[in-house]
């Protein structure tokens, strides 16, 4: 079980959270101008790295707030967590 730190509530067990997939996927700025390929990319394509991955979690049985976690998908190590308005630590998205 993962031990995840909510930026507001502190470290809690994974079972308190809901997973939200890749972080930092912005909604298209002008949706009407997108091609089918660009829509497919926005709706269906996500990164799937073996290594550090910035992802969203929600503290669903706690403060109910979304936040971001940087986690290594190969080792399961939770590297850091941060608020939605903060950039990914170490740059790169």
């Amino acid at each position: 079980m993962l031990l995840i730190t909510c930026p507001w509530c502190g470290p809690r067990n994974e079972t308190e959270y809901h997973y939200g997939g890749q972080a930092h996927v912005p909604h298209p700025e002008s949706p009407a101008d997108l091609t089918d390929e660009q829509w497919a990319e926005y709706v269906f394509y996500r990164d799937n790295p073996k290594g550090p991955f910035a992802e969203r979690w929600m503290h669903s049985v706690g403060c109910r707030r979304w936040f971001n976690v940087l986690r290594d998908t190969a080792t399961h190590e939770v590297l850091t967590s941060y608020r939605l308005d903060e950039p990914r630590p170490g740059g790169n998205r």
Partner: protein
């Protein structure tokens, strides 16, 4: 019921050649799908100058640790067609491969615990019948006749309100399936090369012309990827982005017991699926862990929930001991259907996205993937499962019939 004896192992199943410098076709991944693809390339298309490259050992990934369930009771026409083709191939493969891998058509029950489950189940039975797939709707008392150890009392938290039953479904001995395919592919001239990891792709413009491996450079006319959980990592090295997410999928087996469980039972709602292996282990699976991962292990609470569901459905399992658990990595697509076809890179083909249910499809995945690689065109059965459906929107949404939450 009596436990069936396991088949004897033949002395030698395949050669262990060093890689040649060039092949007509290179398949990446020597799991069930890669081996079946090589077998059908040779058998159906006469293409025998083929190498199957495996970074670990043959059939040592998800093929070595899955819940071995075979069924074809999918909802949509496209899925019913390809999984039913697989089931028909399974029914003749032991004879064709001259290897008894204990394909046991003991049937599969998909339980309904809510009114919505009942409606979905009845709809699926009707859809299956229209597609020529055997299916029945069973009321709780009929469910109890098929599987007497199931608790169909109305006093459980989620009572069994009925279930779909596919009598031709069943299980097979997964390792023996792989070895049977490997032996025959080897006899037909295919090189099965273990300990050979693909580290990169050789390209000539937009065309793939070979692979780099830890055992040297191998040129190839065509390359097929069949790497399951690592498909997107591999495809990325060729410059191809796939709409898949990799998740840990856990399962477990108990110690050996007398034969008590005559069929396969699956439940979407309380989420567990159980069968009893030929030797006597109870084999149980659940859904995927929610997060992406390649660590080949998952979280304990997933196992805890699946066992709670199993004990509620099968009270006699309460004192069974877990022998081992494992986590495999499955690649999940947005519509819970596989991707089999060409990629934006010429001569590079992909078979991936089977999620939690690739084992049952092994022969049909091999059959259609071999056709696609051999001819450069999709087989009618895999044409709907092309990568471009995520752009056209022609999705095949099988989240319901996939039966495992992902």
């Amino acid at each position: 019921m009596t436990a069936e004896p396991l088949p004897e192992h033949p002395d030698f199943l395949w050669r262990n050649p060093d890689p040649e410098r060039s092949y007509d076709v290179v398949i990446v991944g020597a799991g069930g799908h890669g081996l079946a693809t090589a077998y059908y390339l040779a058998k159906n298309h006469g293409i025998t100058n083929v190498a199957v490259l495996e970074k670990g050992w043959l059939a040592g990934g998800n093929m070595a640790r899955n819940t071995t369930i075979i069924r074809s009771n999918y909802l949509w026409d496209e899925s019913a067609a390809i999984y039913e083709h697989a089931l028909k191939l399974w029914e003749r493969l032991p004879e064709e491969l001259e290897y008894d891998f204990l394909f046991s058509q003991r049937g599969v029950l998909n339980l309904a615990h809510t009114l919505q489950d009942v409606r979905e189940g009845v709809r699926r039975v009707n859809a299956n019948r229209l597609n020529g797939v055997d299916a029945e709707w069973l009321e709780p008392d009929e469910v109890a006749k098929v599987c007497p150890i199931l608790n169909v009392s109305s006093r459980t938290r989620y009572p069994v309100l009925g279930g779909t039953f596919q009598p031709r479904a069943g299980i097979a001995k997964h390792d023996h399936v792989a070895w049977a395919l490997a032996r025959r592919a080897d006899e037909l001239g295919v090189d099965l090369i273990q300990g050979c990891e693909v580290t990169g792709f050789l390209k000539d413009g937009d065309r793939v012309v070979g692979v780099d491996t830890n055992r040297g450079r191998i040129h190839a006319g065509r390359v097929g990827l069949a790497a399951a959980g690592h498909s997107s990592v591999l495809a990325e090295r060729a410059g191809v982005r796939l709409p898949v997410q990799s998740h840990p999928l856990q399962a477990l087996v108990s110690e050996l017991h007398e034969p008590v469980h005559p069929t396969v039972v699956m439940s979407n709602h309380v989420h567990v699926y159980v069968s009893q292996a030929h030797k006597g282990e109870l084999v149980m699976g659940a859904g995927v862990d929610s997060y992406n991962g390649y660590g080949q292990r998952g979280s304990f609470h997933v196992i805890e929930q699946q066992m709670a569901a199993a004990v509620e459905l099968f009270p006699i399992f309460a004192r069974a001991h877990v022998l081992r658990t494992w986590g495999g990595i499955v690649d999940v697509t947005p519509d819970a259907s596989p991707i089999i076809g060409s990629t934006p890179v010429e001569n590079l083909y992909v078979n991936c996205g089977w999620g939690t249910g690739g084992f049952k499809a092994t022969p049909a995945a091999g059959w259609t993937f071999a056709h696609t690689i051999a001819t450069g065109e999709p087989h009618p059965l895999n044409a709907p499962f092309a990568l471009d459906r995520f752009t056209t929107g022609a999705l095949i949404d099988e989240h319901g019939a996939a039966a495992v939450a992902h």
